[in-house]
């Protein structure tokens, strides 16, 4: 987008939307939408409160734990599926089912099995993230160039050396791509889990604010949450581009 020959940076239109938000908020047309400036002022207030920091800590903990399990179980499973045909045929239908299944429906089951707490939220997060990680790791291993495999053989690589020095790296762009999408899904999963099990983290905070009609507080937390989610996804996309150079030429 160019105005008077000057290139406007990609996300700069968000400033315009922020301005519209401010104007709309000030017009007082809706009680539910306070002006952006109020929200930002509240934001700095809220960040210091113990309630917010507790919610942030709990969410961060559930998110990191959920992603950790998804990655450490998902990547090896995916690689094994890519290498072993029998395992692949046994597991693939289930991976595909859970990839497209509405996982929110499983949260009540987790609640009755694992209680109304952190454990259920962590499992929800893992469930949201893991399937795409498995599928991408599998695809990464399966697309490894035949001649690369033959090259490793012809130079006499041991299976372990071939795996650590060739296969893993050749599949890395796909694996990282899967981890990126998985993490974005995990962000959504952790919030959905907290909303449904609304006594922990931001779920509890939302409950508190909406019961007391603290609109600026509510928006402030949303703003923080969205900004963090967006930052995470952009950072991951940046990292993925850093390794994609060798994905392009092979």
């Amino acid at each position: 987008m160019k105005v008077f020959g000057i290139r406007l940076p990609g996300m700069s239109s968000l400033l315009i939307w922020g301005l519209l938000w401010e104007i709309f908020g000030r017009s007082g047309l809706s009680f539910f939408v306070p002006p952006l400036s109020d929200v930002i002022a509240t934001l700095f207030e809220v960040i210091g409160t113990p309630a917010f920091q507790k919610a942030l800590y709990e969410t961060g903990y559930a998110f990191v734990a959920g992603v950790f399990f998804a990655v450490s179980i998902g990547i090896p499973t995916g690689i094994l599926m890519g290498k072993n045909r029998l395992l692949d045929e046994l597991l693939l239908p289930w991976v595909n089912i859970f990839l497209s299944a509405p996982l929110t429906a499983l949260v009540p089951v987790l609640m009755v099995l694992f209680g109304f707490g952190m454990k259920s939220i962590i499992i929800t997060t893992t469930l949201f993230a893991i399937w795409i990680i498995i599928l991408n790791a599998r695809a990464g291993v399966m697309q490894i160039n035949r001649s690369l495999v033959e090259m490793a053989h012809s130079f006499g690589a041991t299976p372990w050396a071939a795996f650590t020095k060739v296969y893993f790296w050749a599949a890395l762009p796909e694996i990282l791509g899967g981890v990126r999408i998985g993490i974005i899904r995990a962000v959504k999963g952790v919030i959905i889990g907290q909303l449904l099990i609304s006594i922990v983290g931001f779920g509890a905070l939302f409950e508190l604010y909406s019961n007391n009609f603290l609109m600026s507080h509510f928006w402030a937390v949303l703003l923080v949450l969205f900004a963090m989610a967006f930052t995470i996804s952009e950072v991951l996309a940046y990292l993925e581009r850093r390794v994609s150079y060798y994905a392009a030429k092979r």
Binding site: M1, S13, L90, W94, S100, T104, L195, F202, S210
Partner: protein, 253 residues
């Protein structure tokens, strides 16, 4: 070979459902019914008509939300893909929406629109729309430049380039965006029934949980997952059927 694949699918289903049955018999938890108990509950609901009534209720916000998202999402996506100015203005919103946990908006929607159908339709829309918009816009932007140049060199008008080249070229990706949108819409529809007001399948889940009728609860969850997966697979089959040769046929093959 088709037999082997079918056999393995059946074997894998047998192993999983068998494990479910055994885990339910031990039982691993007081809230873990066996597979057969759950299936019995499912058939009971199917025959007394309560499942059908519940789905009629659940699918209403889903269908309305998906229709709105599809029309609006494709229109906005086309516009973003075609106009640099519109792209600059609207893309960031949908990019942020795509990355953000929009479920967090639900408490706000409930405050603004109450606990009725409107809120639920809204939830489905905010979940489904971003991927539809972004897929459509991306597909339009990625129309092979040699095709649009071809149109121009054979004197196509601007409208003809859009209707005869860009839209057909983009349609496979638009359709898969629609499928992903519907998948997200399912998540939204169930989320809204569990979070906003228990109606339809959400009501069965919530109510049977409260009276500790776990077999019925598992049956309801099982049915919604099966329904969603079957429907999405069906859409994928349609997609493959209609657009089989569409992504191929360029010189780079």
């Amino acid at each position: 070979m088709a037999n082997r694949s079918l056999f393995l699918k059946l074997l894998s289903a047998f192993v999983v459902f068998g494990a479910w049955e055994i885990a339910g018999r031990i039982p691993v938890s007081y809230a873990f019914p066996t597979f057969f108990e759950s299936m019995a509950a499912l058939f009971k609901m199917m025959f007394d008509g309560s499942l059908l009534a519940a789905y009629a209720e659940t699918l209403k916000p889903l269908a309305i939300g998906i229709l709105i998202s599809a029309f609006l999402g494709i229109a906005i996506g086309l516009w973003i893909g075609l106009s640099g100015w519109f792209d600059w203005l609207f893309s960031p919103i949908f990019i942020v929406m795509q990355a953000a946990p929009l479920a967090a908006l639900i408490p706000l929607l409930v405050m603004m629109y109450g606990i009725g159908l409107t809120s639920k339709v809204f939830v489905v829309c905010i979940m489904a729309m971003p991927v539809i918009v972004l897929n459509t816009a991306g597909a339009v932007r990625n129309t092979p430049s040699s095709l649009t140049e071809m149109g121009k060199s054979f004197l196509a008008s601007k409208a003809e380039v859009i209707t005869k080249i860009i839209v057909p070229a983009a349609s496979p990706v638009i359709f898969s965006g629609l499928r992903l949108g519907i998948s997200a819409g399912f998540i939204g529809a169930i989320l809204s029934e569990l979070k906003i007001t228990p109606t339809g399948v959400g009501d069965i889940i919530t109510y049977s949980r409260s009276i500790a009728d776990y077999a019925t609860m598992y049956a309801a969850i099982f049915s919604i997952i099966v329904l969603a997966v079957l429907f999405l697979n069906f859409l994928e089959k349609i997609e493959k059927f209609f657009f089989a040769g569409n992504v191929r046929g360029y010189a780079s093959d």
